[in-house]
Each structure stands twice: as structure tokens, then as C-alpha cells.
Symmetry: C2
Subunit: 197 residues, 2 copies
DNA sequence: TGTACATCAGTGAACGCGCGTTCACTGATGTAC
DNA sequence: TGTACATCAGTGAACGCGCGTTCACTGATGTAC
């Protein structure tokens, strides 16, 4: 197979990039529908492949969904990191990290639901996923590290605050009408000001 | 039908309390399995009734689940209110309300997932549910009311903090091992101390 | 450089399941007389 | 008090669907000689 064909991703019979394509399809499907609308067959079809083809790359449906969730966690950590890149001031850095987290949830509702929802309650079954998921936590924890304070407590505290609003957005319990993308920054800033870091 | 039969709930043909019994069955099923394991047929069977019988009391499956969620919200508000009953001190009262909220989530994982999860994203479809769901919010908002501060902001802020931890518990992203029922109180107290109400 | 061969990604058909919902019905209920 | 009747909660059978997964297979690939 030529490089070109590899990137194009099709040669008629062999797909060439099926694994990645399926994960892409899952993320794309999540922009149109909810987590419950994801089906192996649907993703296979969207990728232009037979319904049994995914089993060459994933053990079962959960395995595919876990891969999609992991990509989500990678993106989340990336967005947080790049948002806060270069910011050294502690409070400022935490603010940027948390606000990126909340914006991610607001902008990727259903993906966020897959990542943090009931799908992967038993994270022991998905060790790779668990590791990747830990990155965003680690970013916040890292920014909060200090000798004086109880870092673990502070991190859970601030993570909860961010995750709470993120979840309420994703599940539409707080409407975006009142808190749009721009005002998420304001909210986070204000919220962190009322907390004594 | 006699009163006794009414309370026993069975007369052979007519059930007598089927609507309530189905909601009970749903709450009970949620203690054993997840939200995705709930099925109309299963609940009917658990209630000792044919699979089509629920349709005499509920429009469809979602209607039944909404009724179950609403009972959950009633319980939540009740537990919060009774926990904080008699407590006048503002900070103290808020602490009791929030900690009751978190404990409810930890003790009723799957019910909490049904109540706040993706099921009822469009709350407009379930006006009664929305009203009942508002009770716990109103309790916190009520405790925080003040002329000086922006109540709306503070409420969302503290609600987010509580809801974040509650969700992380319910979805098993933070393990109860480190934060058991007793220490939830401690955590809440400490968290609220770091916030300037 | 050309050919035989092992590998394995993707095919296409099929299995079996549980589900939500519908339908015409039946039997229990309570009420009007 | 007794009987006719309207109501409607619950029955049982059936419909149709989409799903995850399996299986024997086939055709493309790249490698060893």
C-alpha cells in the first residue's frame, strides 16, 4: 500500500486506518447524538465498512468506546495545558486550567458525558483510560502544589467546583444562556476569588 | 376493594397500587443495577404484572422513569431539609444542606445518575419533574440569600462544588475509600471554610 | 527481479436476544337505579 | 338490598426492530526465498 493510499485510508478491501477511523466516527457521532445512540454497527457503517470489521481492532463495543473516551481525555488535557501554557502565577494558572475544563464540557457535551459518565464506572477494567484520564487532574494538582497546604484536599475541592459546573452544563441542568463560553471565564475567575487558595 | 386489600396491593386481577408499585420497583432496581438495566418489562415483572400493564399508568417508559426520578428529588430535598432543620446559622445551614446532598449521591449512586444524568436533558418535557428538582436548589439559594451578595452566583458556585463531588462519587471517579460518609461532612465543612460566603 | 506463501483485515450472512409498544380482549370494580 | 351496566386496569399474544456478536470465508498485503 502506498503512503498516499494510507492517508486517504481506502484501497477497496483493506481500509488501512480503520482503528483510528472508528474512533473518529465515534467522536463525530457524539456531536450529533447522545451516548446511547452510539452503536458498533452505526460506527462501522459510517466508516464504510462491514459491521463485523471493528472486531479486528477492538475486543468489543466497550473497548471502542473506551478508545473514544481516551481521545477525549487527551484533548481535554491538551486544551487545558495549552491554555495555561506560560502562565506561572498560581491563581491565574489554576483559573485557566479550570475554565478550559468547563469550556471543554460545554463545547463537547456528549463526549464529556461519555468520558465521565456511567460507562466506565469500573476504571480498573480500563487501565490505559484511567491513566490518560488522570492527566487533567494532575495538571490541577500540579498547579496547586505547595508545602503549606493540603494539596490533595485543595485539588479535589477545586476539581469538584469545576467538574460540578461542567457536569451541570453537559447535562443541561444549568443553561448556557446564562453562562456562555465567554462568561465561563468570568465565572471561574470570580469563583476562584471566593476561594482562599 | 377493601382497605386491607388496597394496602396489600393485590386482589388477583386489579393490582390497586400499580403506579406506586412500579415506581418503587424502579427505585429498588436502581439499588441492584444501573440506569441502563432498567426496562419496562423488568419492572412490570418485578411488580407481578404483565408487561403491558404499566401503560395504564404511564404514557411510555420515559414517563415512568421521570416519576422515579421525581421521587428521588423529593427524597433528596426532604433529607436536605430535615438535616438542616432548626439550624439558623448561615454557614452552618449551608454546610448541612450541601453535605446531605453529597451523602445522598454517595448512598444512592444510580438513582442520582438517573436524576441528574443524560435521561432528562430536555427538562421542558417534564415540567413536574423540573419543579421538584428545583427544590434542592431552592434550599441552598434560600440559605444564602442576602442583600449584599449576588445570591444567584453564590448558589451556583456552592451548588457546583457540592454537585461536583456528588457526581464524582456517583460515577466512581473519586473513591469512597478516601471519603466515607462521615468524612463527607468534614470535607464539606473544610471546603466551605475556604469559601468566603 | 519474480514467485510462493503465511498473515490477517474486512466480508456477508446468520444467530439470538431483549426491548418498547400495540391490540383486541376480559374480568373486576363501583355506581345508578 | 339487589341487579344492570359503564368503566377501565390488567391480560396475553404478537409485531418489528436494532443490537452485539460469531463464523467460515476471501482477497489484499508484504515477506522469504
Amino acid at each position: 500500500m502506498t503512503q498516499a493510499a494510507l492517508h486517504q485510508g481506502k484501497t477497496g478491501y483493506h481500509h488501512g486506518q480503520l482503528r483510528e477511523a472508528l474512533v473518529d466516527a465515534a467522536l463525530e457521532a457524539l456531536q450529533k447524538g447522545g451516548v446511547d445512540d452510539l452503536s458498533l454497527r452505526g460506527l462501522a457503517k459510517a466508516t464504510g465498512v462491514t459491521q463485523a470489521a471493528p472486531y479486528s481492532h477492538f475486543r468489543d463495543k466497550d473497548d471502542l468506546l473506551a478508545a473514544a473516551a481516551e481521545r477525549g481525555f487527551q484533548r481535554l488535557a491538551l486544551q487545558m495545558a495549552s491554555e495555561a501554557a506560560g502562565t506561572r502565577d498560581k491563581k491565574d494558572r489554576v483559573k485557566k486550567l479550570v475554565s478550559a475544563y468547563i469550556r471543554f464540557a460545554a463545547e463537547n457535551r456528549t463526549l464529556f458525558q461519555l468520558m465521565f459518565g456511567r460507562e466506565f464506572s469500573d476504571m480498573k477494567k480500563y487501565p490505559t483510560l484511567a491513566m490518560t484520564a488522570g492527566k487533567s487532574y494532575a495538571l490541577i494538582a500540579g498547579a496547586l502544589t505547595s508545602e503549606k497546604e493540603d494539596t490533595r484536599f485543595l485539588t479535589v475541592c477545586i476539581w469538584s467546583l469545576g467538574h460540578g459546573l461542567a457536569t451541570l452544563f453537559a447535562d443541561r441542568k444549568v443553561s448556557l444562556g446564562q453562562f456562555d463560553a465567554a462568561s465561563i471565564d468570568d465565572f471561574t475567575e470570580r469563583a476562584l476569588q471566593t476561594i482562599n487558595i
